[in-house]
Structures are given as C-alpha cells and as structure tokens.
Symmetry: C2
Subunit: 323 residues, 2 copies
C-alpha cells in the first residue's frame, strides 16, 4: 500500500508508559526516539502532559506522564538524525495545567492530542481550542466509542466538526473490540458527521486485529495512523510499528532502525513487563469491555491463564438476567 | 458474521503436530477432539496419514503422523457428545500407502485432504481421485502459492477444476505472507480458474493476520475455514479457533469448550513447545519465505531474539546483486 498522504504516529512511550507508570529510563526513551527518527516516522508521542500535584508526583508516576519541555529537549537533542519527526504529547481531560503551557514556538512540542470520552467532549474541544491558540497542532481522540450510545457519539462528532481548532479527529478502538467491518462502519459514521475533519486511527490488539484493522483504516482512506514499536501498549498493546512500516510502501520509511530498537531495547523490557495478545485480552475485546478487569486477571498469578473461568465470569453466565 | 454455509475445520492436531513430531498424548488428542465436538465444529483433522517405513517409524514420528484407523476410533469413541464432526486426515504427496487404505465406509475417517506444491499437482489430483474412489471426501491444498509462478499456479487451478473428484480447493497462505488485499486477489484468481470448486482457506499467523485474513476470506465468500485451538501450529501458528467462533454468529457454535481446552490442555503445553507470532516469524512472513529458517533461529537460544540481525540477513543486505 502506498499513499503519499499517509502519516505514521509512533506512540511507543505514551501508550507503553501506561503499563509501567512511565518509568522508562532516559536511554530507553532516547533509543525509541532515535529509531523513529531514523525510520522516517512522521510524529513521535513522548508521553502525557498532566499536571503535577501532591498526589501525582514525578517520582511515583514517571516523568513521561508530565513531559516537561526540558525532558523532551534532552531526548530530541540526543539524536543527530537528519529527519526530525514532530513531537506530540497527550492531554487527559481534567488533569491538565494549561497555565503552565508555553506557546508552541517556545516549546519542543508540536502537537497536543486530547483524549476524552464522549461525555467530556466539550471539555476536550475546549482544551484543543486553547492549545491551538498557543500554536500547537491538535487532535481529539474520542475514547471507548464502541461503548458509547450512538446518538451521543454522533453529537460529539458534530461538535468536533464545528470546531476549526481541531486538526484531526481520531477513531479509537479502546477496547480492541472492532472487526474490519466495524472499522469501516465507524469510519463511515465519522465521515458523515465530521466531514471536515481529517481522520486518524488508533487500534488495540485484543483480538490480534490491531494491525489488520489499521490496514482497513488505510483502505478506507485514513491518513494518520498510530503504532508502537513491537506493539507495546496497555493490555494487548497496539498496532506494531514494524509490521505497519513493512506494509507501507512509501520509501521514506525504513523499518531497520525499528527492528534494531526491538532487539536492543524492547526484548530486554519484555523480561520486566508484559504486553501483547493473550487469551484473556481476546475475551475482553470480544466482549467489548474496558481492559481493566483483564489487566487485573493478568496480574494475578493464580488466575492469569484461566481463560475459561474468565470467559464464564465476564460473559455473565450464572448472573440473573437484567431487564 | 453469519452465513449458514460456513464450515469450520479444526486442524489442531494435524498442524500442531508439526511442532512436536506428533507426540501428543492420547488424553490431549481426546480433549481437543471433545472440545471441537462440543463446540459444534464441522470437521476435525486428527493428523497426517503417511506410510510407515524403516525411516518413518511411529515411535519417532508420532502416531498422529500415521493415523491408524484404530487410533482414530479410540479418540472418537472416547467422546459421548451428541454432535459428531467429520474426521479428516492429511496426505502428503509421495509419502502415502494407498494400498493400505480401506474404503471409507469401513473407516472412521470421512475426508482426506491432500497437500501438494504446484509442481506436484498431478500427483495430488491422482491421490484425490483414488481416495474419492474409496468414498472419502477430498480436498486439494496447494501449498506455498505465494511463491509459485503465476502461470504455473493458474494451470494447476485449471487442472483441479477439471477434476470432479476434488470436493474443495484450498487457498493456503503457507508463509503467512498475505495481507487482506492478497487474500482477495488470490481468491479472485482461484475463482476465475477453478470456478466449479468450492473454496477453503488456511492461514498462518506470521504477521498477526491469520484471523483477519480468515475474516477476509469469509467476506469474499469462502465457506470452509481452517483454524486451531489457541492458534497452535507450525511456526507462527494458525487462525485461533476461539477467535473465529467468537466472530461467527451461527448459534450452532459454542466457544466455551474451546476456552476450557485452552485452560486445561493448551496452557500446560505452552510450557513445552512454542507457537504463535513473534518478531522473527513476522519478518519471514513479510519476506514471503518458507518458515524453515525462522524456525531454526527460534530454536537457537543465542539468536532467537535477534530480529534486527535476522532482518538484515534474510533481506539479503550485503549480498551481491543478482541479475
């Protein structure tokens, strides 16, 4: 597949950090950033940009949860690659300190992506507006749309469409619940109700479909694609960047630095933390569930391989019927 | 997805046996067979049916490489499930003793699938003809079609089409090299040149696409689908039966016995043998290679995680150009 407009966003550190409280070493972050530079990736997301508080400290929650400009500069300056991707960070609605945000031309950050649920769409759009005012590129990533009431989702899409400050609108398969049919159907809905917005796509790999669903999004015309090195990410992880670059034929991409990063940095990390498809996440994706419960079970050594028990429990067998 | 005509073939023992020289315990085979019975699977393939010889002994190569009728009867008789799938075995061209094959009405076997390369298509069709004469259902599974010269493949398809003794023709992604686009393109070719043959599809999971490509085959109208419990199979393995049953909406299927078999039998087996996606198989699939070299590397403790080295080596960097 070759289409010149396609851009790849590497969210290795941001989505991967959800597994380990953003406790990556500087060397790891620099290595992943270098891989994406050398691979020709268009945008690199280096973490979240949340407000520090007494509860949310840098020590406990990891510096990449806060992405101070100085930390980002140290990573960016460590790499002498000719190609420089844009740098993105992510906002969570309600956990942001906008007063501390400097104008984009004084920051190493180029793009701020705002993740929000349908219920928080007004807050999300407000954040996008205020970051756009400071000169940043913006996206709205509507989370958990597969669990939203369709009428509410459509209203949110229409609001995004009426907000010129939003550069990209993301379809996000937060629960890893989509088949290719759903990717197509949701994208049709997004295009119908937000026709002015270029679309992005962010997959999860609960059912081994993150990569194939990303291909489906490409086939459907989406030009901004999220992926992570080795598929690292919360729960079942994300679309593997290396598989995606293999698929994309654009000669601007070079997959070799990504495989080098896997060999040198992700393989050792896999000894410490787990990500990727397994039976438990397959069930939570099939059932269109938040991965919370699946992650709890995977963290319980006595239960982590009991997929049959998990299936019965989660599909509600034995529960009284709701009416 | 619901289509009444869709049939699922569980080749857990046959494809899984390629990893462990068919050294499954009787309890394991019986457990998997029972799971497929209770799950409503249409056909269960219990192994290969090769000729015993001084070189190929039952002890060394495992009884499920030979599938004596008595062994199969013991498995089938061990299960009192109401639903009885058809029983299949597989022939490899050139390693078969047809004289020892009894008529189908005296055997617990219902279907014999013949796997052959394009170059052996005449021998494959001959085997299908002779097994059909004995009353068995037949398929031709053309292996490694992604590496065949198209003109030769088309000729093979035309020959299959002219052979009324072949019940099903299989598209097989032996190298796990297909994207959904290739699934569609090959199926179009198979339909064009073998229009009289119902089609089957057999995937491999090198690029995390076995399940999604099987969905694509369904979308393209294929009604006979191979899968294995937990995706067990040579190299990167196959389409996961449990994911496929989750996808198929036909109420005749029940996924729960499959998850029970995973929990009770496949999870312990995973301690002993490896299958499923990893970086090395991802590369061999991308490069459209026989998994031989990838399997060798995965068996080498010093090299099994060196995906960057494997990529450079296999993509021929540093080799002199061929002309």
């Amino acid at each position: 597949m070759y289409r010149e407009e396609i851009k790849v966003l590497d969210c290795t550190i941001r989505d991967g950090g959800l597994i380990n409280q953003y406790q990556f070493t500087d060397d790891f972050v620099k290595g992943c950033y270098r891989a994406s530079c050398e691979a020709g990736v268009d945008i690199v997301e280096l973490g979240k940009k949340l407000a520090v508080s007494d509860e949310y400290t840098r020590d406990k929650w990891g510096k990449w949860n806060f992405c101070d400009d100085d930390d980002i500069r140290r990573v960016v300056d460590s790499c002498d690659s000719e190609h420089r991707p844009q740098v993105a960070v992510m906002f969570d609605v309600g956990r942001v300190d906008l007063d501390a945000l400097v104008p984009a031309d004084q920051s190493p950050v180029d793009m701020i992506r705002t993740a929000c649920y349908v219920a928080d769409i007004d807050k999300g759009i407000d954040l996008a507006r205020r970051t756009k005012d400071l000169g940043y590129g913006t996206t709205i990533n509507i989370m958990a749309c597969s669990a939203a009431i369709e009428r509410d989702l459509i209203e949110a899409l229409e609001q995004v469409n009426e907000s010129p400050e939003v550069d990209y609108l993301y379809l996000v398969d937060s629960y890893g619940a989509f088949y290719s049919e759903q990717v197509s159907a949701y994208l049709a809905m997004y295009r119908e109700h937000a026709p002015d917005k270029p679309l992005g796509f962010h997959a999860h790999n609960n059912q081994q479909l993150a990569f194939s669903n990303t291909q489906q999004a490409i086939i459907e015309g989406v030009n901004l694609l999220d992926a992570t090195i080795n598929g690292i990410g919360r729960g079942a992880g994300n679309c593997n960047l290396e598989l995606l670059l293999n698929f994309l034929k654009n000669p601007k991409f070079d997959v070799r630095p990504v495989y080098r990063a896997i060999q040198e940095q992700l393989v050792p990390l896999r000894e410490e933390i787990e990500w990727g498809f397994n039976d438990i996440y397959g069930i939570s994706g099939h059932l269109n569930q938040h991965p919370r419960e699946a992650m709890r079970v995977r963290g319980d050594n006595g239960a982590r391989e009991l997929c049959y028990d998990f299936f019965l429990e989660q599909s509600g067998e034995g529960d009284s019927a709701l009416d």
